[in-house]
Amino acid sequence: MPMQLNRDDLIRAYRSMATIRRFEERVQEEFSKGGIPGFVHLYAGEEASAVGVCQHLGPKDYIASTHRGHGHSIAKGCDVGGMMKELFAKQGGLCGGKGGSMHIADLDQGMLGANGIVGGGPPLVVGAALTAKTLGNGHVAVCFSGDGASNQGTTFEALNMAVVLKLPAIFVFENNQYGEGTGFSYHCGSRDIAGRAAGFGLPAVKVNGDNFFEVHEAAHEAIERARSGGGPSAIEVDTCRFYGHHSGDAQLYRGKDEVKNLREQRDCLKHFRTRVSEAALLEADALDAVDAEVAALVDRAIVDARAAESPDASELLTHVYVSY
């Protein structure tokens, strides 16, 4: 499948993944230093999922994200500077500092928001897909959910509703094997998210999330089906997270060397690099250049975020209603 992707596509994909990785690594550092308030949930390790899907989407296509929303935001085209300011609770943040990591959103980019409620996103995606269907504009709506969220009643309702209304919705289940500290093999009775979703009457596949190209291919199929009126699909992405559930998580539920092994054996960026070099599609230094470029971008975002002002006190009372 790499064949379908020209050099620009590949660079674009790698840049997006590399930006996410760098973003999360630096956020982890800054969070530890205390510059970032609240809770942050890092996406490092799962980049191929967000990027493999969002590469097929335009700004007028919608995504709904989760509490682990940085990767989806970057993949969907949100401004890294505005994101970082938001995490730092500063003016110029995507939500003016009023949302933070758990509510980061950018409707102009079709990013309907991270969500503090597990299972909050799927019903909203039904709505975004309903808008697309009603307006007949050929847009689609993608819902990112975790394996834990796959057990939430709202998620199941959304699956059925999307099938009943034949909506252009794609449900992407990022199975990183954990809901907080509870393992997938325990919390999911069927031990099979895609299979369970298929029972709702929509095409559902499982892909290896370490492999950008597999995700990209499956997403392509599902999204094209949706655009052409073929209705909803589900994709289960087998992936892993490199950090804790949230920054600061002691991760006692992890096996010995689990994270070390994941980083060594299941790094989707490494996998991408190997794939494209072996296939002689991109040279190492082109990729290194991207790494350097995104490193500068993210580092600059942090400097700017640190320097930015906190929201004005008056902001406490604004934006509750359009009019009241």
């Binding site: 939500c95 009023k98 409707l107 019903p123 709505g127 709202t154 509750v320 359009v322 009019s323």
Partner: protein, 337 residues
């Protein structure tokens, strides 16, 4: 002016607005009915017929029957609203909010604030409230106090057909999420309702009756019970000023406060249960902002702190009655004289 029932007024408001704006959709359980059956489409038009006929004029794409799946319905409406439609979603009975409230209070109502003002969520949720139909504990509640408590949500509680039409059109044109509470015993209540569309602004109470002795604030069906009480009382020369807030969020504080400044006496009538309610909300408002004018304790005539009983005799005792209202007014009127 033609007489129309609340049912007709609401139906007319929906039809007229849907003609005006193609982005308005109606979505809910059996809002048409008959989907996937061998019989008639539009078999119900809403369990109480409020949306009857809409599917005939606007089609299945804009009048959407759903499975029994309130979280997905409210989420679909919220998600559609924030992406460009103006959904009017139906929560058949307000008692069902417990299976879908997250999509209302954590999602739709908070988008704008959480997203720093970037979101607009023009969503209307029509829902049924009220006891008196022997529908028992899970089909008779009036949770508008809970809806009123939610920042970002607006709450409408009409008491007559004229207000119902104007407030529903306002709700549909409003850019914020609105929950619109319809009392299940009032759908056939008729009033003069203009044929053309009109709006009634939120946050403007209706002074149903002028009087200088005691201010009475009442909502929905209680407005009519209060009127009955008022007629009784005026025979004894007690003239109440009856205020129908029409919307509990925003609440027209000024009209209530001005009235109490004049009368110095307040009775609040509310069909909902008594704790942390709109009745306590208005009492607290007045005890703070009109204290100097108060000449008597603020009395609340409400349902008791119990679920709604099934037995008609018990339910009758559960609901505030004109007699109880009159008694409370007399007490407050007589206080300190």
């Amino acid at each position: 002016m033609p007489l129309k029932s609340i049912r007709q007024a609401l139906n007319e408001a929906l039809a007229q607005e849907m003609r005006r704006d193609p982005t308005i959709i109606v979505i809910g359980e059996d809002v048409a009915g008959g989907a996937g059956s061998d019989g008639q489409r539009d078999a119900y038009g809403g369990v109480l017929g409020v949306t009857k006929g809409l599917i005939g004029e606007f089609g299945e794409a804009r009048v959407i029957d759903t499975p029994i799946t309130e979280s997905a319905i409210m989420g679909a409406a919220a998600g559609a609203a924030v992406t460009g439609l103006r959904p009017v979603a139906e929560l058949m009975f307000s008692d069902f909010f417990g299976v879908c409230f997250d999509q209302i209070f954590n999602q739709a109502a908070k988008f704008r604030y959480m997203f720093g003002g970037k979101a607009k969520t023009p969503l209307v949720i029509r829902t049924m409230i009220g006891a008196g139909r022997s529908a028992a504990a899970q089909h008779s509640q009036s949770p508008y106090g809970i809806f009123t408590a939610v920042p970002g949500l607006k709450c409408v509680v009409p008491s007559n057909a004229y207000d119902a039409k104007g407030l529903l059109i306002q709700a549909i044109r409003d850019d914020d999420p609105v929950i619109f509470c319809e009392h299940k015993l009032m759908y056939d209540l008729r009033a003069e309702v203009p044929d053309e569309p009109y709006t009634i602004p939120f946050g403007e109470a209706n002074v149903v009756r002028d009087g200088n002795d005691v201010t009475v604030v009442a909502l929905a069906r209680m407005v009519h019970y209060a009127m009955t009480a008022a007629d009784e009382l005026s025979k004894d020369g007690i003239e109440i000023e009856l205020i129908d807030p029409r919307t509990t969020s925003p609440l027209d504080e000024d009209t209530i406060l001005e009235s109490v400044e004049r009368t110095g006496r307040l009775v609040i009538v509310d069909e909902a249960t008594p704790r942390c309610s709109i009745a306590t909300d208005i009492a607290a408002l007045v005890a703070d902002k009109a204290f100097a004018a108060l000449k008597a304790p603020i009395r609340r005539v409400t349902a008791p702190h119990t679920p709604v009983p099934f037995a008609p005799d018990l339910e009758k005792l559960y609901i505030p009655s004109p007699e109880k209202i009159a008694a409370a007014v007399r007490e407050v009127y007589g206080y300190g004289r």
